[in-house]
Subunit: 271 residues, 2 copies
């Protein structure tokens, strides 16, 4: 699988890159099918929001062309994009001038069991809580130690994902996915103003549900409310939608609304 | 100045290193004088604590020898050490087996104005607040976007450092230093259980003050209490101690206790 740094094949990055020094950058995990980067507009939109928040200057149009060329080489797989603030000397102050670094890494499509999408997955309750930092909430930055620690909490492959809450006990997301629930026909997903990553698939599902005439509320959700939900599902840009089958002893069947949204996504992602 | 990756001269790191992907690692900024790494035991102690918290396996004894050899090449300057969890495939789960990566970067001694230590420095009040994450508090991990954003708040070189508070308004630290205050002859420094980096110079000063018969309390400190302090100073492993001359209109002179601690450190660091 190809790997590019600043648009050319390479396997290394400069030792003084600030992505390495401080996690000073952003990333996107992009599904590539038949040589095309899926949901690319949404990925670039979120990246642009991240660049604004972190004040990283980046030419989005040339990056779009670069990702499209890269996706052709990947064919079917995953294109992981990392954008950093580039190299600098010691110290937190921005380098002058700033020269963002772009990395594109190809990898094969993950080999998810088909049962995950059909029968649903078991969700681990992570003890690692997400800190509340509004300045970094929503964007997909490179400071991911909370996710690393949360993912290290379980080794049992019976758990396909882990549930993360914030320090106040609000339900926020999966370690590498977003979360939705259905309550009395209404779709709900946690607000992400304080912490969490606003996934591109989450945005896609919110928009699709509106088109289907299903209202989707974005607000704070407590654990008790989640446990009483009629349906619960996870989503991300690689696996689409997985129903949640079990969490802390509570068992769900794949629900009707989950199935409708899965079918709806199928055409978008598979083709 | 030399740069080593895993003990040999190199200028790049593998593109799949988890330090770059997730900030999944730790660092130390070590003062080197006359070919010797200063406060090395304290740096290695903190690094070891960080490795335990992040579950990164690392041989400290061989690393100590490596840093000492590196310091000989640096002579007088700074040795920045980065330890990451090493390379892995996509995804937050630890790679199996884990193979930590070690980077040593040399750089010249920073050219601090002598007046900073003698007349003191002006402190900028950062609006960026530190999130509370007990799992990561105290250690010097690579997730440093809060410091990057805080440092970007001022360009005026009249400010030598910035003051950071947590979301509850407690005073925590400087952007790249720790903070002490003196109140009625007693030394105080903020508790760092929720956020902040427990600096090696902070630990050194706490221990030295005890030896001098000065009690040092480590506890929560509010901004109002700081503003009423008799003396305020900053410290880190490179500049030692800088008195704070001004913060938000409040002006201090260099205090007696600050001067005593500065003199005490001088022998340790300069020689």
């Amino acid at each position: 699988m190809p790997c590019w740094v600043n648009g050319v094949p390479a396997e290394g990055v400069p030792v003084r890159d600030r992505g390495l020094a401080y996690g000073d950058g952003l990333f996107e995990t992009i599904s590539v099918r038949q040589g095309r980067a899926r949901l690319l507009d949404r990925h670039l939109q979120r990246l642009q929001l991240g660049c604004q928040r972190l004040q990283i200057p980046l030419g989005i149009d040339s990056l779009r062309a670069e990702i499209s060329s890269f996706a052709m080489q990947v064919g079917d797989g995953v294109a992981k994009l990392i954008v950093t603030r580039g190299s600098g000397m010691r110290g937190y102050a921005f380098p002058q001038p700033q020269q963002a670094l772009r990395i594109l890494q190809g990898s094969p499509l993950p080999d998810y069991p088909a049962a995950h999408a059909e029968q649903g997955v078991k969700l681990f309750s992570c003890a690692t809580r997400l800190a509340e930092q509004p300045l970094l909430a929503g964007i997909k930055h490179l400071n991911r130690l909370e996710q690393v620690l949360a993912r290290a909490e379980w080794q049992d492959p019976g758990y396909a994902e882990g549930l993360m809450q914030d320090h106040s006990g609000r339900v926020i997301e999966g370690v590498s996915s977003n979360l939705f629930m259905v309550d009395a026909g209404q779709l709900l997903t946690p607000a992400l103003q304080r912490c969490g990553v606003a996934g591109v698939m989450r945005a896609e599902i919110i928009e699709q549900s509106e088109r289907l005439g299903i209202t989707c509320a974005v607000r704070d959700i407590g654990l008790a409310e989640l446990m009483e939900a009629d349906e619960v599902f996870l989503c991300n840009s690689l696996f689409g939608i997985w129903p949640v089958r079990e969490l802390a002893g509570r068992v769900w069947e794949r629900g009707e609304l989950t199935r409708i949204l899965q079918n709806n996504l199928h055409d978008l992602l598979g083709g």
